[in-house]
Symmetry: D3
Subunit: 136 residues, 6 copies
Amino acid sequence: MVYLTRREHFNAAHKLYNHSWSREKNEEVFGKCANENWHGHNYELLVTVKGNPDPDTGFLFDVKRLSNIIREHATEKLDHKNLNVDVEFMEGQMCSTENLAIAIWKQIEPHIPSPVKLHCIKLYETPRIYVEYFGE
Amino acid sequence: MVYLTRREHFNAAHKLYNHSWSREKNEEVFGKCANENWHGHNYELLVTVKGNPDPDTGFLFDVKRLSNIIREHATEKLDHKNLNVDVEFMEGQMCSTENLAIAIWKQIEPHIPSPVKLHCIKLYETPRIYVEYFGE
Amino acid sequence: MVYLTRREHFNAAHKLYNHSWSREKNEEVFGKCANENWHGHNYELLVTVKGNPDPDTGFLFDVKRLSNIIREHATEKLDHKNLNVDVEFMEGQMCSTENLAIAIWKQIEPHIPSPVKLHCIKLYETPRIYVEYFGE
Amino acid sequence: MVYLTRREHFNAAHKLYNHSWSREKNEEVFGKCANENWHGHNYELLVTVKGNPDPDTGFLFDVKRLSNIIREHATEKLDHKNLNVDVEFMEGQMCSTENLAIAIWKQIEPHIPSPVKLHCIKLYETPRIYVEYFGE
Amino acid sequence: MVYLTRREHFNAAHKLYNHSWSREKNEEVFGKCANENWHGHNYELLVTVKGNPDPDTGFLFDVKRLSNIIREHATEKLDHKNLNVDVEFMEGQMCSTENLAIAIWKQIEPHIPSPVKLHCIKLYETPRIYVEYFGE
Amino acid sequence: MVYLTRREHFNAAHKLYNHSWSREKNEEVFGKCANENWHGHNYELLVTVKGNPDPDTGFLFDVKRLSNIIREHATEKLDHKNLNVDVEFMEGQMCSTENLAIAIWKQIEPHIPSPVKLHCIKLYETPRIYVEYFGE
C-alpha cells in the first residue's frame, strides 16, 4: 500500500455567518470572519489516494489524471468564486474550512476508480491553519 | 546602510471590475477575477526599511515597532475586509495587487521616522505572484 | 471526525547536557549540542485537535481559542526563554525536542474541552528535523 | 511512542519507459515523462522513525546517526545519478516515485537498530507531488 | 514604476561536461555534476517585469499573459527535457544555471511589449542555490 | 553580470543586552530579547556573489567552493554557539541581526577571489524577519 498526494490551489471569498442568529451573535462568535462584505483566502488543497503500484507503470495512479479529477470536481467550481453564493455543493452549509474539506471529499471520492481509494483531503485556509478529513 | 524586512499577512476579498466598462469587457479583460460575487487571497506583505544600525542597540529599527506601524496603518485596515468596499485608502482605484502595493507604501511611509527610510513594499497575491514597489 | 491544525512558533535557547555524565561523555554523545554557552532554535509548533464540526458554526473548534490555549500554556512560557533554566515544566528533563513535544502535550491537553480531543503535537527543531507525539 | 523525522535531498535524472511496450504506448501512458533523453528532479526525502526517548539523552534516536544511515544507504547512491541506469537497487523496476519510495524503505530499514523502528518514507518528486510508504 | 513577478517551474536533466577537456578534468572540476548518465532538477523560475500600472485595469501587465509568454518561450521548451540534448537555445553552451538564466532572458525579452520591460530572471537550481540575471 | 546565491544555516543562542545600561533600560528597549538566560534562533544565511560566467565551465563561481568559504569563515564559527560569548568576531558588539550580517560580510568578503565580488549578505533571524547588507 502506497500513498500518493497531489497539491492544487484555488482562491475564494467567503464569510462565516449563521442566518438563524442575530448580527451581534454572529460578530461575537465569528469575529472578523463575519464581515458582511466578505474576505478571502488562497486555499491549498492536498488530495491523497492509496493503493498498490501497477507493475507495468510503477504508478499507483496517474498523477495527471488525479489532477484532472481534482480540477473538474473541486477546484474549478471553487476558484475565484464566493463560497457562500456561487458553489452549489456548499449550499445550506456554513462555509468553514472543516465543512469545505468534507464537501470536497464528497465531490472527489466517487471519481477515484477502484481499487485505488481516496485517503485524505487536507485543506490549508492559511499557511498556519489547515484541516484534514479521512472520510469518516 | 542595512536593510531590514518584516513579513506580515492579511486575508481579503476583492474583484477586478472597471465600472466605466461593460460587463462583457470586464470579463474579457479580467476573466475569473471579475466574478461579481468576489474572490479572495491570503496576502503576504514584506516591508523593508533601510538605514544605519544604532551603536547602542545594534538595531536599524525596532522590529516590534515596525510590526506595529504595519499593523496599525495597513494590515488591520485590510485583514478580513473587502478591498473594493471596506478600505478607505483604496477608494476610487482598481484593486489590483500593483495598486494595493503603492497604496500600502503611502499608508506606511509617513510613519517611518527619519533617518530610517522605507525602501520596499513587496506583496504576494499568491505564492507564485508578487509585486514590488520602491516609492517612485 | 475532522482534524484541525494550528501552527505557532517560538524562539528558545537550550543545550543538551546530562549532569550525571562527565563533560567528555556529553561532548561525545551530544557533539556541538553540548556547548556550555547554549545554542538555540526557531521552533515551529503544530497542534492538531480532532472532533466533529458543530452544525451551527461549521467549526470543529474555534481556531482563535486554540491559538490562545497554545500561547497561554506553551509558547508564552517558551518564547525567548532558555529551556534548561527558565521553563518550569521542563525541569529535571533533558531538553531534547522529543521531550519538549511530550511536555507540550501535557501542557495543552487538559485545556482542550471535551468532546474535542488533542490529536498530535508536531515540533520542528529546524526546517529539516521534527518530532511528532500522539499522547501515548 | 514518539516519531522523529529527518529531511534530506538528492538530485537525479530518470525517465518512465516500459521496454515491453511500443514507443507510442509509452508516450501515450507517460507523456513527457517518457522523453528518451531523460528529465530530472530535486527529490526531497523525509525519513520517520518511531520509539521511546532514552531517559539519559532525551533522544529517540541520534539525528546525526539517522542522517548518516540515510546518506550511506540511500541518498549517496541516488544523488546526481540516473535512476534508470546508475542505481543498482532500482534495477528491473519502473523508476516511478512510488517504486523509489518502496526501494528506499528496503535500503534503510535493515539499518535502523531495534527497538527503534522505521515508520515512514515520504518522497517529494516536486513541491506539489509526493508519495508515502509505511512498509506494508 | 512597479515590479511584477511570476513564478513557474520545470523539471529537466543535464550534466556539466566540457567536451574539449579529458574525462578526468571534467570530474575534477564538476564532481558529481559530470556524471555521464545525467542528473536533474526541479527548477523554479521567477520572471520579473517592470513598468507603470494602467489606470483602467490597475495592472502593470496581465499576469496570465506573462505566464503564457514564459511557458511558450521558456518552460515548454525545457520541461521534462534534457538541457544538453533537447534544447535548441542551449546548443553549444555549458548547461550551468548561470548560462540557462541568461538564455531564458534572451528567449523571453523580445516578447515583453514596450513600455513594459523585462527586469530579472531568477532561477532556482535547488531550494538552496539560485542565479539572477538583469540583462547586462 | 550574473548573481549567484548559496543558502546555508546555523543555530545559535544570543541575548540583546547593553552593559552600559541598567537592567531596567535593557528590558524596556529589548523586551524578551534581553532575557538574561539567553534565547536562540535557526538562522538562515544567503550569500550572493556577482561576476561573469567562465566560458569553459559556465560557472560564475563554483558553488561547492562558495559553500566551503561560507562554512569555514562564518557558519562553523557560529553554529551551536552563543553569539555573545563564543564568537570572536562579534566581540564588543551588540548581537543584533543587523550587526551579525555586517560581521559576516567582513568574514567572507576577503575570501572571494577577484574578479568575482561579494554582492549581498541576507540573514533570516526568523522566517518573518531578515536583514540585508551590500557592503556599504
